[in-house]
């Protein structure tokens, strides 16, 4: 029966090829607009470590009163990073299962065989917990030990990319390199790892949510030991009146924020415990006169992404716009199908008179509407592929987020199928129902 209905539909398309082309391309354009914007949006809204969402927490401590915080142009929870004293004290807690301090140092790596010029490298100064906590994959070797954090021992983990530049991709574990003139031993090399967004460091001053992870990793304490200034986001306006530190010792004692702190708290009890610990610390600091307020928070990864507006309002706006466009396209198609079906009513009347049931007339017209939607969806997929390629081309070589996510994925395909189905229902159901309901006599009369 379906085959027969399809033949009838094809005949109907041939009678009005212009209108059919208009309907198919309208649906295709609507679906393509939705898929392109949704694909980019989903990439941005991605939580790369969703399976640990209830366990990983970013720590914020705001020492200022709400008024001062507002004046400094900061959100209510205060700065996204911590001052040295606060970060190291909270890091000392034994409550979290794992924990990590994060900052950036700028170094140059030399000493690899065949290397002619030093390799300038953004270096992540962090602690041993970083790698296991964020599920960082290793190609060779592994993370350094907790003891290496305390030393600190001269150990280094290289990213796959930097290992390729320095050693041609060979296993470099055990090799010694010079990092800004100091000898470090390579203990691990990462497998390709580029979480998007870079959830553990969203600070704009560190390159933002879509920057590449660092090229090398060394223990956090090397910064203080070498007196090496942080190369990333360093913000000193938490107290308004504080002056910018001029020596490294002043920086360590200052309220300037430049260190990220993440903790892994697998159980609700551990979360409550750690939160109480933080509040007690802040209350102590307020009593001592260092803080003006007790305002400490733990944020899950998804909360952290939301707070930093990783999903820009702009991309949300474009998704809404794409759906409005699809709506216009569907209304368009609905109107054309309705007019077409009603014009073909006399034919339907003859078929009714010859014994076709209402349901069969309805099914026949729904098949025609479905065929239009299906053709629209197929063309829409092709258009989306072209659109995504266009977006990639537009952002080739740029660090903007749009280009990174403009790849066809299973989600895009699923959306296309779902939207084609919705299109059939929205645009086809009503006209098919209208035509199926007509009494045949009215149309036979004037024949």
């Amino acid at each position: 029966m379906i085959g027969y209905y399809l033949r009838l539909a094809l005949r109907s398309f041939r009678r009005a090829p212009g209108l059919t082309a208009l309907m198919v391309s309208a649906i295709a354009i609507g679906i393509a607009a939705c898929i392109v914007t949704l694909t980019v949006y989903h990439g941005m809204a991605n939580n790369p470590i969703w399976w640990k969402n209830g366990e990983l927490y970013a720590v914020t401590v705001n020492p200022s009163t709400p008024n001062r915080t507002r004046e400094a142009g900061l959100p209510a929870y205060g700065p996204g990073q911590l001052a040295y004293d606060d970060a190291t004290y909270l890091f000392g807690s034994s409550i979290p299962k794992r924990k990590a301090l994060l900052t950036f140092l700028f170094g140059s790596i030399s000493g690899a065989p065949d290397q002619t010029r030093p390799l300038p490298t953004m270096t992540r100064a962090t602690t041993a917990g970083f790698f296991r906590m964020f599920a960082v994959p290793f190609r060779y070797g592994g993370p350094w030990s907790k003891a290496a954090d305390r030393g600190p021992e001269p150990v280094m983990v290289l990213s796959g990319r930097e290992n390729h530049k320095l050693f041609g991709g060979a296993d470099s574990v055990g090799r010694t390199l010079l990092w800004s003139g100091h000898r470090f031993r390579v203990v691990g090399v990462l497998a390709p790892w580029h979480p998007l967004p870079r959830f553990y460091d969203l600070s704009a001053g560190n390159g933002g949510a879509f920057a590449r992870p660092a090229g090398a990793f060394i223990p956090f304490q090397w910064g203080p030991v070498l007196g090496d200034w942080p190369a990333g986001d360093l913000s000193c306006d938490t107290h308004g009146s504080s002056t910018t530190p001029t020596t490294y010792q002043e920086l360590l004692g200052s309220s300037c924020t430049w260190i990220g702190l993440w903790v892994e708290l697998p159980t609700p009890a551990a979360q409550r415990h750690f939160l109480a610990f933080m509040q007690a610390y802040a209350a102590n600091q307020r009593a001592a006169g260092r803080f003006q307020a007790v305002n400490t928070h733990l944020w899950t990864v998804s909360q952290w992404l939301t707070l930093h507006h990783v999903v820009s309002h702009r991309s949300g706006l474009l998704v809404n716009l794409a759906f409005a466009l699809l709506a216009v396209c569907l209304i368009n198609t609905l109107g054309i199908l309705l007019a077409k079906f009603l014009r073909g009513a006399p034919v339907a009347g003859v078929r009714r008179a010859l014994g076709a049931s209402r349901r069969q007339i309805f099914a026949q017209h729904l098949v025609e509407a479905g065929a239009v939607s299906l053709a629209g969806a197929v063309l829409g997929l092709a258009l989306s592929a072209a659109g995504l390629a266009g977006v990639r081309l537009m952002y080739r070589g740029s660090s903007a987020a749009y280009g990174k996510f403009a790849h066809f994925d299973a989600i895009g395909l699923a959306w296309a199928v779902a939207l084609a189905f919705v299109s059939t229902i929205v645009a086809g159901l009503y006209p098919a129902w209208r035509i199926g309901r007509r009494a045949p006599a009215t149309y036979l009369k004037s024949q």
């Binding site: 001062r68 308004g240 002056t243 007019a339």
Partner: protein
């Protein structure tokens, strides 16, 4: 034939769903068109703010020290000596921070010490006496820094005092409104007073957002962070060549330093507005597609309906209606539908505008946009309906009534 309301409404009454669908399409398209136009216009306004600096011929190189043997003062002096002798260089200076980007320091500036009294968050751009000349920013009052005023504090001799400062016109206005700011005392990020010795034209400093034009220039070579920025302005058209030569020479001149980053102002400006520009492009594109589809829909349905109503038109013509009466009837029908759609669209546009104001902090929708939007949509939809109407008018009464 007088065009009474009867024939106009009867066709619509016979197929109200079709008319409602077109009105709905027109309404949604109008609402989106109006809001998109408002957003795109504001984006263009923001992008066309003057940068105040020479974006064609200026670039910045950030130099980073790699070891304890690195000395900002001696290395940067050597770099400047090299650059100033390079043919094609108009001016070169050592600064700390990159205008038109977020790479720089900001500080609170007030008329009273500490946090007493209101403060303004402003960019702080340390420069030497060549800074203004290199930025190509003119003074509108006062004087430039003298060579003797440039301080070179170091870790061994810290000197947080800033004696003299130059401020932008925007910052002077923010601090002193309509009084003269020249010679006044302000407090820059600390309790020690500074005197304003000069006021410059507005330019975008190393701090973006609302206060892009608020900048304090301080006479200082910053040495304690083991990094500095070389600001270079070339003679017109020489930038590419100078940029290449400088990168080659300076990148290898001192083994203890590397170029951390090198950007031209043109690139920085492109980067600065890239998000806004993309939004404007995507919004315009999607909106135009929507408008085109809406008109194609009206055209397609109109053509189709003419074919359906051949007989009705034929009877009208036989009864004495002229061709232009038929065209007028079709256009009037379309106008009625458009009017209903426009009313719905205006309400929807205001609702969307309100939502955008609440959620995105977008300024309230200007009613002018509604007016222009309705005019554009009415015009394009009448154009789309015109061709089918003309075709309807061309139907000879004899053909149309043959089958009766």
């Amino acid at each position: 034939m007088a065009l009474t309301s009867h024939p106009l409404l009867s066709a619509l009454r016979r197929n109200p769903t079709g008319a409602v669908l077109i009105a709905l399409q027109i309404g949604i398209t109008l609402a989106i068109l109006v809001n998109a136009a408002a957003i795109v216009t504001r984006a263009i306004q923001k992008m066309s703010r003057p940068s105040g600096v020479d974006t064609r011929d200026t670039f910045v190189m950030t130099m980073v020290g790699l070891s304890k043997n690195f000395n900002v003062y001696s290395t940067s002096s050597a770099d400047l000596a090299y650059l100033r002798h390079l043919p094609g260089v108009a001016a070169a200076s050592i600064v700390f921070g990159t205008p038109l980007t977020d790479n720089g320091s900001d500080t609170s500036v007030g008329r009273s010490p500490g946090s007493r009294g209101p403060t303004v968050t402003s960019a702080l751009l340390p420069v030497d006496q060549q800074g203004l000349r290199t930025l190509d920013v003119a003074l509108i009052a006062g004087r430039n820094f003298r060579g003797s005023e440039i301080r070179v504090p170091s870790a061994a001799h810290p000197d947080p005092r800033i004696g003299e400062v130059i401020v932008t016109q925007a910052l002077a206005h923010a601090l002193f409104a309509h009084q003269s700011a020249l010679g006044q005392t302000i407090y820059v990020g600390s309790h020690t007073p500074s005197t304003i010795i000069g006021i410059t034209r507005n330019f975008m400093g190393p701090q973006l957002g609302q206060h892009a034009y608020d900048t304090v220039l301080a006479p200082e070579i910053v040495t304690q962070y083991d990094m500095y920025d070389l600001l270079v302005r070339t003679r017109p058209g020489q930038r590419a060549a100078v940029f290449r030569a400088a990168k080659r020479h300076i990148g290898t001149a001192d083994p203890n330093a590397v170029i951390g980053q090198a950007v031209t102002f043109a690139h920085a400006k492109r980067l600065l507005y890239s998000g806004l520009r993309d939004l404007a492009i995507f919004l315009s594109f999607l909106t135009l597609v929507m408008l085109a589809l809406c008109c194609l829909g009206i055209f397609g349905l109109g053509t189709f309906n003419v074919a359906t109503r051949t007989r009705q038109i034929g009877i009208r013509r036989a009864l004495g209606a002229r061709r232009r009466d038929i065209v007028a009837l079709f256009l009037a029908e379309n106008a009625l539908v458009v009017a209903i759609g426009a009313i719905f669209g205006c309400l929807l546009a205001l609702a969307i505008g309100q939502w955008l104001t609440d959620h995105d902090g977008v300024a309230r929708l200007d009613p002018w946009y509604l007016l222009v939007g309705v005019a554009i949509l009415a015009l394009t939809s009448q154009l789309a309906a015109w061709q089918p109407a003309r075709r309807a008018a061309r139907i000879p009464p004899s053909v149309a009534t043959r089958t009766i």
